[in-house]
């Protein structure tokens, strides 16, 4: 078992203060929730800087903070591709080109846009799959959190789950989307202030970025890669075998940068809802652009801890001798030893470390409790613990409380994002559309509150299911991936090709999802066995890595949906132009920006975002 950190009174005090403020915000907002629009869309009255920060914060769940730290330890700086390639371009696109239709059509949700643009069945398929997905993803992250706090602090699994569920329930029940958004802003700053000192201390202890790079060379060569493979984001992308993520540049750009990224940032109601709450069209368009600025620097906040965790125990690659392997006698290695002595409990209390594992503990078998080893006899690392171990390693009582509160905040913001998106889609797209039409607004407001309760109830149930049947959750996430992959093709055709029809969109979505399942069923990542990893229809191709398989599954799904939608649309009757005003690019007036100062214009901000992103890529190439 991993040692549990013991918390001091001050750590609990910081958590308690946070809880008081989070609940206080919900309580303070309760009297403003008069109509269903107030509750589900914040009355479309929030300034852009707030919706912008909420836009990324809702996405910054615990899975992101923990998961990106884990990927940082696994893939090094290449994890930044999930931001610079896999988020920023799509965020710019949704702000510049898609928000005019989401906001301008006055749709109250993304499925409702599909209803306005296409037809009832396209909306239904999107609304149902989205509602199910939000409940389960919130449950899965709740499970991850409960497990983590049990491991780290010895807290009871049920205790952590119920306390956070009830707090999130309370503040959304009282203050609706506004409460979720306001708290997301608070949580955003808390996450930044909780993790920034971790990065600063960590970098200082490994000798800055240069020191980190030198140390990771040894780890990199230990894995059979070029020395700089973990610290160069583009240099080794020419071939899948030469970089740690096992993906070549084309697969990365097409699969992650285009299909998956646009599919998430441009169509997921969880994030789009934040922009829809903005107080004007310009504010809605600026929302993802404002979000893009902090987003591009997040790799330093969430990925670096994982990389530092890996480097904290590593020796230094001897460049002059050109030898691969660890030079344990070098000066830097002695410094490492000193850091280890001064930080944390005495070294003797810890299990002996394998080279290249840093402070990341090996994965323990859930049944036997023994460390798992791979086919080469090396321990399999529990990468998900990279960031949490960093907190325990570098933070004394006081700051540890802040760091753990930041972790809790990230968890709650992600959960609140899911719950607010769920209650809106449930109430507007399912309840109002198929169960009870034409009721009073007060009735739907009441339904929204009820949906908040059972949405959270279902998430808690999903967390317990995840705890007892891990495989079911893997399977579900796989199905969600199939459903999500083709989405962007439908939206892109809907918004930019007025000829596309409801029948086309619907058949496109269904066949795209089927194509994803078929492709996944016919391929396998290298070294995997047929089953949940793919190959259940027989193996046609093997991909160099699981990521490569995921990206290609998405590319196949997207292309199928795109082609099928075009074919079926051409064969079916289009809607007359006058019904598509405000829903399709060519039939919608361009947003006017004449009276906005130039530096606040979406186009100017978009260009600034893209230039900065290119610079970051070049600096860390």
């Amino acid at each position: 078992m991993i040692r549990a950190a013991n918390l001091a009174w001050i750590d609990y005090a910081i958590m308690l203060i946070y809880f008081v403020f989070v609940l206080g915000i919900g309580y303070g907002l309760r009297r403003f929730m008069k109509t269903s629009t107030d509750f589900f869309l914040s009355g479309r009255s929030i300034p852009a800087w707030i919706t912008g920060l909420a836009f990324i914060s809702a996405n910054l769940g615990a899975q992101e903070v923990i998961g990106m730290g884990a990927s940082g330890a696994k893939y090094g700086i290449l994890t930044a591709h999930f931001y610079w390639v896999g988020a920023i371009p799509a965020m710019v696109f949704v702000g510049l080109f898609m928000m005019p239709f989401y906001y301008g059509s006055r749709a109250r949700s993304v499925p409702e846009y599909l209803k306005l643009r296409f037809d009832e069945k396209t909306r239904a398929v999107n609304a149902v799959s989205f509602a199910v997905m939000t409940v389960f993803s919130s449950g899965i992250s709740m499970y991850a959190m409960g497990k983590l706090f049990k491991l780290l602090l010895g807290w009871d699994f049920s205790f952590s789950i119920w306390v956070s569920a009830i707090i999130v329930l309370a503040y959304i029940f009282l203050g609706g989307l506004t409460s979720a958004i306001y708290n997301e802003v608070l949580q955003f700053f808390l996450i930044v202030f909780g993790f920034l000192p971790l990065v600063l201390l960590g970098l200082r202890s490994v000798g800055g970025w240069d020191g980190l790079r030198d140390r990771l060379m040894a780890v990199s060569t230990g894995r059979g890669l070029e020395p700089a493979a973990l610290t160069s984001s583009w240099t080794f992308m020419g071939h899948a075998g030469s970089n740690p993520i096992g993906v070549d540049w084309f697969t990365l750009v097409a699969g992650l940068g285009f299909v998956l990224s646009f599919g998430y940032w441009c169509t997921d109601f969880l994030v789009v809802q934040r922009a829809m709450a903005a107080d004007s069209m310009t504010a809605a368009r600026r929302t993802p652009l404002i979000a893009a600025f902090p987003k591009m620097f997040f790799p330093f906040l969430v990925i670096l801890p994982g990389m530092i965790a890996l480097a904290a125990g590593a020796g230094v690659y001897n460049k002059t001798a050109g030898q691969k392997g660890v030079q344990s006698g070098s000066v830097a290695a002695v410094q490492v030893a000193q850091v280890d002595k001064s930080g944390g409990p005495p070294a003797s209390a810890q299990p002996p470390r394998a080279e290249g594992q840093g402070i990341i503990p090996p994965k323990e078998d859930a049944v036997t409790g023994k460390a798992e080893v791979d086919s080469n006899g090396r321990p399999v690392l529990d990468y998900d613990l990279a960031t949490p171990m960093m907190l325990v390693h570098y933070f004394p009582a006081g700051l540890l409380g802040l760091g753990l509160t930041a972790l809790l905040a990230s968890f709650m913001s992600g959960m609140a994002g899911n719950v607010t998106a769920f209650n809106t889609v449930w109430t507007y797209d399912l309840y109002q559309s198929y169960m009870r039409k034409g009721a009073s607004d007060q009735h739907y407001l009441w339904m929204g509150r009820v949906a908040t309760i059972f949405g959270i109830g279902l998430s808690v149930a999903a967390a317990y299911v995840a705890a007892s049947f891990n495989n079911i959750m893997d399977l579900l996430q796989l199905v969600f991936a199939f459903v999500n992959a083709p989405l962007f093709a439908t939206f892109a055709l809907g918004m930019f090709w007025k000829r596309s029809t409801g029948h086309g969109a619907f058949t496109g979505l269904i066949s795209g999802t089927l194509a994803a399942a078929v492709h996944h069923g016919l391929t396998l990542p290298q070294g995997a066995v047929a089953g949940v990893k793919g190959g259940y229809f027989g193996v046609l191709t093997t991909y160099p890595s699981e990521l490569a398989q995921t990206f290609w599954t998405a590319i196949f799904a997207w292309t199928t949906c795109f082609i099928v939608t075009i074919i079926v649309s051409s064969l079916t009757r289009p809607r007359p132009d006058d019904q598509l005003k405000g829903l399709v690019y060519s039939l919608t007036d361009k947003p006017r920006e004449g009276d906005i100062p130039w530096y606040k214009r979406p186009v100017v901000m978009a260009v600034a975002v893209l230039i900065l992103t290119v610079i970051l890529n070049l600096v860390f190439s």
């Binding site: 001050i10 005090a13 915000i25 306001y182 608070l186 700053f189 000192p197 200082r204 004394p396 700051l399």
Partner: protein, 91 residues
């Protein structure tokens, strides 16, 4: 909407920052700080948070007073309010 979010954010960072600063002073020189490379990180980071909190509180209070002495206090403002009321554009 009703509540200026800068006030609770500023308030929370101010209180947590102050708590960390005081705790940092009280525990200065404690061997526990070997973890944070012998830096009294509670003290310094607490101060950073206090400054951040004060800035946000400042903005929030300034924003609140702006609204309070805003539209209704001037004749033009009252006219605008009246027009908005008639056109039922009030927020």
């Amino acid at each position: 909407m009703g509540l200026d979010i800068r006030l609770p954010i500023g308030g929370m960072f101010f209180i947590v920052g102050l708590l960390l600063t005081i705790y940092g002073v009280a525990t200065s020189g404690d061997p526990a700080y070997q973890k944070s490379l012998s830096i009294d990180i509670n003290l310094w980071w607490g101060l950073v948070m206090v400054i951040f909190g004060v800035i946000f509180l400042g903005f929030g209070i300034r924003g609140a007073s702006k609204i309070k002495h805003g539209t209704e206090d001037s004749p033009e403002g009252q006219a605008i309010e009246a027009r908005e009321h008639e056109a039922s554009l009030e927020v």
